[in-house]
């Protein structure tokens, strides 16, 4: 282990632009990765950051209107479910959003579900559901619904769809609390803007919000940690005098493919979630791999086995039911394996010692 740490320190100390990718880790692991990236002038990115980055950029431009999972579950009278991702990510999502018992909620409407740009599928019993899709693409139906909500004219050749859209728009205006549920990884930026504009229109007269699904692999926890550390979300570079964020330029995979990055720290150490490896795997770029699973790596790569957060050690990670970072006890007591934070901390110390020598 000690020699692996030393080799990792040597490898990283020589790097011109190391990129910290994967980042399937807990908040402590993210804190340590950010500290090391700042020390080395590297880049940080999370392996499931497409949606996070897109949502971050849209928010920076026009703001956001989030509701917590608990508020939606207890108080939304109309849930607009957009796309397939939300249910792919959590098969029980609708059961959770339509529980048997709720806190007092505004208005007298019966709770309703509107499924947009996806098949209705299995829905909770007793919940009136409308499917809006037909042969149109998701961006098209979202745009139609947005127009109908604002009572603006729209055209569609599908008369049945047109009727449904009109009535859905009316229902949204008459809702006491309408919430749009989506995964930002599934929606392009213009669609995200359309959804947010619709909410901002509705709140002039009633209550409305969005529930944006958090990224897998503690993507939201890592992102929040990055923001309180340096003021910016993931895909941030510490190579210059001040941190710089750019969702295109500092995407880990692009930096690896283009050869701009000359070292990779790959972190995959979270129970129940597997980081998709960068397409070129670890080949060609000197890599330090911290993983809780067996890893195929190149001969010169440094592989360090670490514990899986939540399984092997207690961890703080983003928990969707509380829409925030929570603490989870380890499922197994066996924790001889080091944590990501331990390992990165030690590598940092070795680099400091090397610098001082």
């Amino acid at each position: 282990m000690d020699s692996a740490l030393q080799r990792a320190a040597d490898l990283l100390a020589q790097a011109r632009l190391p990129v910290f990718g994967g980042l399937f880790t807990d908040v402590n692991g993210a804190t340590a990765a950010l500290a090391l990236a700042q020390k080395l002038g590297g880049v940080i990115d999370h392996a499931a950051s497409d949606g996070t980055c897109r949502a971050a950029r849209v928010m920076r431009e026009t703001g956001s209107t989030p509701a917590s999972f608990g508020e939606v579950r207890n108080r939304a009278d109309t849930v607009v479910l957009i796309g397939d991702h939300p249910r792919e990510r959590d098969a029980e999502l609708l059961q959770k959003l339509f529980p048997g018992e709720t806190l007092p909620r505004p208005g007298d409407n019966k709770r309703e579900l509107i499924v947009v740009g996806a098949k209705k599928g299995k829905v909770p019993t007793g919940v009136r559901t409308t499917e809006i899709g037909g042969k149109n693409t998701l961006p098209e139906v979202v745009a139609l619904l947005a127009a109908a909500t604002r009572e603006m004219p729209f055209e569609t050749r599908d008369a049945a769809l047109g009727k449904k859209v009109l009535s859905a728009g009316k229902r949204l205006r008459e809702s006491a609390f309408a919430v749009f549920v989506y995964d930002p990884a599934e929606l392009e930026e213009p669609v995200l803007h359309t959804v947010l504009e619709t909410v901002r229109h509705l709140v002039k007269t009633t209550r409305a919000a969005t529930l944006s699904l958090s990224a897998p692999g503690n993507g939201e926890g890592v992102n929040l940690c990055s923001i309180w550390t340096c003021g910016l979300p993931v895909r941030t570079s510490f190579a210059g005098d001040v941190p710089e964020n750019n969702m295109w330029a500092f995407e880990a995979e692009r930096l690896l493919k283009s050869g701009e990055a000359d070292a990779l720290v790959w972190i995959d150490a979270l129970d129940g979630a597997e980081a998709p490896p960068p397409t070129r795997a670890f080949r060609g770029i000197p890599s330090v791999v911290l993983s809780s699973k067996p890893v195929k790596a190149g001969r010169d790569d440094v592989v360090i086995e670490v514990g899986a957060a939540v399984a092997d050690h207690d961890a703080e990670v983003y928990l969707p039911p509380i829409s925030g970072i929570g603490a989870v006890k380890a499922t197994s007591a066996d924790s001889n394996k080091p944590t990501v934070a331990d390992v990165l901390g030690k590598i940092g110390t070795l680099i400091d010692e090397k610098g001082a020598a």
């Binding site: 908040v27 804190t31 971050a56 928010m59 920076r60 431009e61 026009t62 703001g63 956001s64 209107t65 989030p66 509701a67 917590s68 999972f69 608990g70 508020e71 579950r73 207890n74 108080r75 959770k96 529980p99 018992e101 709720t102 806190l103 007092p104 505004p106 208005g107 006491a176 609390f177 709140v203 009633t206 209550r207 919000a209 929040l224 940690c225 923001i227 309180w228 550390t229 340096c230 003021g231 910016l232 979300p233 005098d241 001040v242 941190p243 964020n245 207690d314 703080e316 928990l319 039911p321 509380i322 829409s323 925030g324 970072i325 929570g326 603490a327 989870v328 006890k329």
Partner: protein
């Protein structure tokens, strides 16, 4: 190691001290001058000003709400720097690390985060633990949460259970005290109310805002929590709201209360524009209610972002967003509103707000009850405190600013008629001694033996902005952390909290509540001793009972 600070002008209003003398530090504490022992280290501070480390009673430095603000406005430090505000043009400047550094450089050693969300206490504590040097504490927000409201439901008051619930929440989130933000107003917002007054009832629950605050005052008094309920009342920022603030004070019935950022409630509705200074009326009430303390929430001109759990008020305020973007986050309890704002010197209202804040300080009969704050970042960034100290201590400086305000604002402001200049001792009261007293942190805010060795040394200058922007020397727990305005040594502070006892039955009830309504386990958001790998991270402030 015995350290001597030799020959400085020691200003310690807690002990009526303002005289040249020595201070001795050993093992992280201030000690008596030891007999027959030579100090190991002597700092010649002759002709310098020596004060206790400063304490900020209300500054939004950590947690979900602040990070939401950072997400919306990463460019805040860049805009502020371009305007000439004292902050470096880097997004990292309003990250956790820079926060500790900049506070320390100004001589601050303890800062209170006033709005921890119970279910997000973990994030607040994670962020606070990333802030170097300063000690911290959080106030936890209740009063718009369904558990509390259900207990206060009309005719359903089970005061013991509320007491247990508040105690459990304080302990579970490791908070120093209780914060109440627009009691009932955020909950009413969820039922589509867009205004909410002191005597309005929360839909479905029937309890009034006044009822919630009174119940919380009673509970906090019963639990013996040293810091009284820290209250952000209704109608913030609205013309004529001084009446609400005065009514809230009248309603306190002698129980202690702390009213936050009172400047935002100091508004009358006189004059052509229907907006006037309510400072004289407000200060008359505050001067009279001896159990009330306040912090001011001074505003300064320039770019900032407002971050508040008063989601109803922020929703209304979204129209004034500058730049034009805002966040309304609807969540358990209060939720959050984030609205960027630029206070303009040329604006009638903003100019008057600036003057009202200063009037409040300067009309205070008892500065022990009128504490310094800007409600960072809501009124101004904390990096600008020295400018405000300057305004309070130097009437020429005040006049210089005042003369550049719009004529209409000058005509209706009483500020020009106030010649008072705060003394160094008075400044030490509002930035050290009084916050410590109000928070129940008896080991700080003063320089008597036994106090923690948090000491700030300044070079006396006519220009108070310069004087307080960069301390000559700062000791944190007896170690030098700042020299000549620059941090020279990174240390990590402690986090203070109370731990009132409660009947363990409450744990089962709370568990069942979260399980039923949220599909969540309260242990997920409990802050435990093992939370930090720094062994002495947490310290308990004793409750009176």
């Amino acid at each position: 190691m015995l350290i001597q600070l030799k020959g400085g002008r020691v200003i310690d209003p807690a002990h009526n001290r303002d005289a040249v003398g020595d201070i001795y530090l050993e093992n992280g504490r201030i000690v008596e001058k030891p007999d027959g022992r030579e100090p190991d280290e002597v700092h010649d501070v002759s002709s310098k000003i020596v004060m206790a480390g400063a304490i900020d009673v209300h500054s939004h430095i950590a947690g979900t709400n602040v990070t939401l603000g950072r997400q919306l406005m990463p460019e805040l430090p860049l805009i502020a720097a371009a305007e000439g505000q004292p902050i470096l043009p880097s997004t990292a400047q309003w990250g956790a690390y820079a926060t500790g550094i900049r506070y320390a450089e100004m001589g601050y050693t303890t800062v209170i985060e006033p709005a921890m969300i119970p279910t997000h206490a973990i994030q607040a504590h994670k962020e606070m633990a990333s802030i170097p040097i300063i000690d911290v504490a959080g106030l936890v927000v209740l009063g718009n949460d369904d558990y509390t409201l259900n207990l206060l439901r009309k005719g359903n008051v089970k005061s013991d259970e509320l007491k247990d619930y508040v105690a459990w929440t304080l302990a579970h989130s490791k908070a120093l005290g209780l914060k109440v933000i627009n009691a009932g107003g955020s909950e009413a917002f969820k039922f589509n109310a867009r205004t909410f007054d002191l005597d309005e009832e929360v839909p479905e629950y029937g309890v009034t805002s006044r009822g919630i605050v009174e119940a919380m005052q009673q509970v906090v008094a019963d639990l013996g929590v040293p810091h009284p309920p820290h209250v952000h009342t209704n109608n913030l920022g609205i013309a004529g709201n001084v009446e609400t603030a005065v009514a809230t004070l009248e309603a306190t019935q002698g129980h202690p209360i702390h009213l936050a950022h009172i400047q935002f409630y100091g508004y009358g509705k006189e004059g052509d524009k229907g907006f006037s200074s309510g400072a004289p009326a407000l200060m008359e009430a505050i001067n009279k209610h001896k159990n009330a303390t306040v912090d001011v929430g001074q505003v300064l001109f320039g770019q900032t972002v407002t971050i508040s759990g008063d989601v109803l008020r922020q929703f209304d305020g979204r129209r004034a967003a500058n730049p034009k973007k805002w966040v309304i986050n609807q969540a358990e309890g209060n939720g959050t509103g984030v609205v960027p704002y630029n206070y303009k010197k040329k604006s009638f209202v903003n100019a008057l707000q600036w003057a009202i804040g200063l009037e409040i300080f300067l009309l205070a009969e008892d500065l022990w009850r009128v504490l310094f704050s800007t409600d960072h970042p809501n009124g101004a960034l904390f990096t600008r405190y020295p400018e405000i100290f300057h305004l309070l201590m130097d009437r020429d400086e005040r006049a210089r600013w005042f003369d550049s305000l719009p004529e209409a604002s000058r005509q209706v402001s009483g500020l020009a008629g106030i010649s008072r200049e705060l003394t160094l001792s008075e400044l030490a009261i509002i930035t050290r001694a009084a916050p410590a007293k109000v928070l129940g942190m008896t080991d700080r805010g003063h320089l008597a033996p036994g106090a923690v060795a948090d000491v700030a040394v300044y070079t006396e200058q006519k220009n108070k902005t310069k004087m307080f922007a960069a301390a000559d020397l700062v000791f944190k727990s007896g170690k030098v952390v700042v020299r000549k305005g620059n941090v020279v040594n990174i240390s990590w502070g402690r986090c203070f909290h109370v731990d009132p006892g409660f009947d363990r039955q409450i744990e089962k009830r709370v568990h069942s509540f979260y399980d039923t309504y949220y599909g969540a386990d309260p242990r997920w958001f409990g802050v435990t001793e093992t939370f930090s790998d720094r062994p002495d991270r947490f310290a308990t402030i004793r409750c009176a009972r």
